[in-house]
């Protein structure tokens, strides 16, 4: 299990679960829903989008944005939805494993 490897990709998939977004929108959404705790650089986010698209978990399409500008919107595919569930489950396992270790009381030390 390599949970951190796909962390960014999982976050992107999760963000797109609520609806299609363009690249900048994904960055903004991650920043705002993490209450600005996670500030992902666009420079790493953008290749991640391309990687997900290549794997077939998201698809992209040119659409008009809210300000009547053209932008490329990314949308989750059914395969991507399945992938998200799987990664989410794996992440939960991992996070709880880590928190169990971190919260364990030290046993009697000599």
């Amino acid at each position: 299990m390599q949970p951190l490897h796909g962390l960014l990709e999982m976050l992107v998939l999760r963000t797109l679960l609520f609806g299609p977004l363009h690249g900048y929108g994904v960055a903004k959404a991650i920043r705002s829903s993490s209450t600005e705790a996670l500030d992902i650089e666009f420079g790493s986010l953008y290749p991640a989008l391309k990687r997900l698209e290549l794997k077939g978990w998201i698809v992209s399409k040119w659409e008009m944005s809210e300000f009547n500008r053209r932008a490329k919107y990314y949308r989750l595919t059914p395969a991507g939805r399945k992938r998200l569930q799987q990664e989410h489950a794996e992440w939960n396992d991992f996070a709880s494993a880590v928190s169990r270790i971190m919260s364990a009381k030290p046993e009697t030390q000599s």
Binding site: H22, G23, Y24, E41, F42, G43, S44, Y46, P47, L49, K50, R51, L54, K55, G56, S65, F67, R69, R70, A71, K72
Partner: protein, 910 residues
Amino acid sequence: MSFLRKLKYLVPWVRRAEDRDIQDELAALQAIAGPRELGNLTLAAEDARGVLSWLWFERLVQDLRYAVRSMLHHKSFTALVVASLALGIGANTAIFSFMDSILLRPLPVRDPQSLVIMKWRAKSYTLATSGMMWSTDGSSFDEATNSTTSTIFPFAAVDVLNDSSVVSSVFSYFSASRLGLTALDQTESVKGLYVSGNYFDGIGVRPVAGRLIQVADDAVGSASVAVLSQRFSQRRFGGADAAIGQTVRINDKPFVVVGVAPSTFFGAEPGAIPDVFIPQRADSLLESPVSAARRYGDEHLYWLEIMARLKPGVTVAQARATLAPRFQQFAVRSATTEEQKQDLPQLTVEAGATGLDSLRRKYAEPIYILMAMVGLILVIACSNVANLLLSRASARRREIAVRLSIGAGRARVIRQLLTESVLLSAIGGALGIGVAWWGIRVLTDLLSNGRENFTLHAELNWTVLLVTFVLSVLTGLVFGLAPALQATRVDIAPALKDVRANDATRRRFGVSLSSSLVVAQVVFSLVLLVGAGLFGRTLAKLHSIQVGFDRENILLFTIRPSAVGYQGAALIELFERVRQDISRLPGAVNVTMSTSPLPMGGGTLAPVDIIGVKAVAPSADGRGPNAALASVGPDFFKTMGIPIVGRDFNDRDVAGAPRVAVVNRGLARLFGIENPVGQTLAMRAGRAASTTAVKDQFAIVGVVDDTVVFRLKDPPRSMVFFPSMQAERPSGGMVFETRTAGNPMDLAPAARETVRRIDSRIAVFDVKSQTAHIDQAISSEITLARLCSLFAALALVIACVGLYGTVAFNVARRTNEIGIRMTLGAARGRILWMVLRSVLVMAAVGLAIGIPLALFASRYVKTLLYGIEPNDPTAIAAGAGALLVCGLVAGFIPARRASRIDPMVAVRWE
């Protein structure tokens, strides 16, 4: 899906569209987002493109593209490297493929180690000659032990030697003379082997199709069956399976083809693959100067060759210890005269695998020598590549420094350099395949030397090719890596400025390495050149051997009418008719015939006397005067151009006429008489000098000058010629010698047609010119001389290229220095000398090492030389001279360029 998309991304226009899409998308986002909010978009786009492509592949393509560009830019450098590698790899693959097919491939029989071949040794043929049926090539007289060794036995010996305590089977065979085989209405002359019923089973060969000859086939009265060789069945029936069940006529008798033997199996008697195997007992159907009753009943008739398979665990020595006494008893029992009892044949048992191996051994020595030579070529080629790469890497130090200074990673630069050198060696290797393919064909031609039925066929050996290819790529890697590592370790600043003082030590290292490589090339080239000189001189000596007749413009061809039933008087009549008809052909000057062409290749010596004259030089072996015998037709000496005193044979020297003979000067010398014409020649009945009984008498009608007799290299030998038309039992086959006005081969079609018109069943074979016949006798020498000269020339060229490259490179490096020297007043001649001196030093060091090495190496080829010693000073001087001259020429070109440098340009040279 992702794979497909990545694949699509490799297509240029797809890539362009994708890249534009990414640019558009990022531009659109920039318009939406706040300024600088998106960071470095160029890098983002770059990384995104990286996702879509295979990075390693991208870089490889980039490197390759750059490598190709730089190769095209340095065309001569590229050509030199590629050519030397292609030649080195190709020559090696060709020779090693041959070596594999000749020396390494296992014998196509089961467990060859347990096969043994039977031989016997005696002082002379006493026992056997009383009824020897066929002269065989298997017998040889050994001067050292003063005894004769032979492989032929009487039929009864098969049972005698079949002792089940040491052998599991004993089987026999004998070579058929040429047989006329008619298949699908076409007659041709084929080589046959008579085999005992248990032969194939004993020797352990599996059929390709059908079945092989079995014990039941080899019995009196069994159906006539034959087994064809795979090659023959392929040629005549288009395949092994198609031949099965066919009826062929052998010497006009029907035989059913029951099976096909693999083509890798060339019979127990190597040389040429028999085209057809026939049960031994069937020989009475085909040709038989001696009755079957005698052949299978007479214990004095030695005619059959015998092999056996040892029982597991039995050694050759054990077999000999058991079988020799058994054969001894048999020989004692069969000896009838006192003379025979004094000289009983001793049985020897030899490993059969080596008997089957004689073809291998025949070519083993030349092949090993060729291997050593091509090995040297590869070394020279590889050192050349190394040298060229080395000098090129030094020349590129500045370019590399530039690339490092603008941020290229060291690993990336090394990778780039390696890509170039590996690409170069790969191209060289690829061309090497072509060279190898061509080389194998040339080698087959050279080795077979025009012989029919040549059994050695090598195929391109991919394993060898792979090994040599890997070797060359490794050369590229190693000699590309060393300078690459060195070049990328540079202090960028001085390299960029090309400060000379700073890199003096490094340059000295590079120069000394490349000089030692050149010296090594000179050394190895010299060894090859000396080899070429030795073999070339051997060939010249062989060519200058006086054959004793005029070898030009003679056509030879052979027929064997006994194969289709001609016998006795009919045979003689037919031969004379062929001779008459050929002589009437336009272009034919004289026609004669003989039972074998000169040199005869082998034969027997018979005891002779001149009545009333005492031999002045009794032979050292105490066997009395003896002579080689030849049976020749009318006008033989006139046709061959052999000077004669007395008269030639003519068409009145026939059976019933007074018996005549012509002797050579060698025989006359033996009896100390100048002109023996008019004397009487006697054939003694026994071999020993004491034997006085006379078998036959002949009037000597002529004496001729000495000619070659058996082999080209033999010393002159005494010889007696008899008229073939007077022979008691005419030979079943005859060679016709036709002296022609023009090119003898032009007459060949007409000669074939003439024979066909007389009797279309008679096959004409061994059609060749007399010169070709002589050349066949020295074929291995010719091959070696040609190949060795070829290789030596190759080595010389490669070494000169190396020398030229090194000198040219040094001159380029020293342009600045040369300019300064000239500005300070150095004359052009002095500059020229300065450069040439370095060439001379390298050549001199090379020669100093090379000459002792060549002297040492040449001892290993001693047995292949003729008329010269291995340390032949002419060959060594010629080799050294050629090397020196070529080296100076190679060095002179850049030296001259150096001396013409304009000092003003040179001083500013960077």
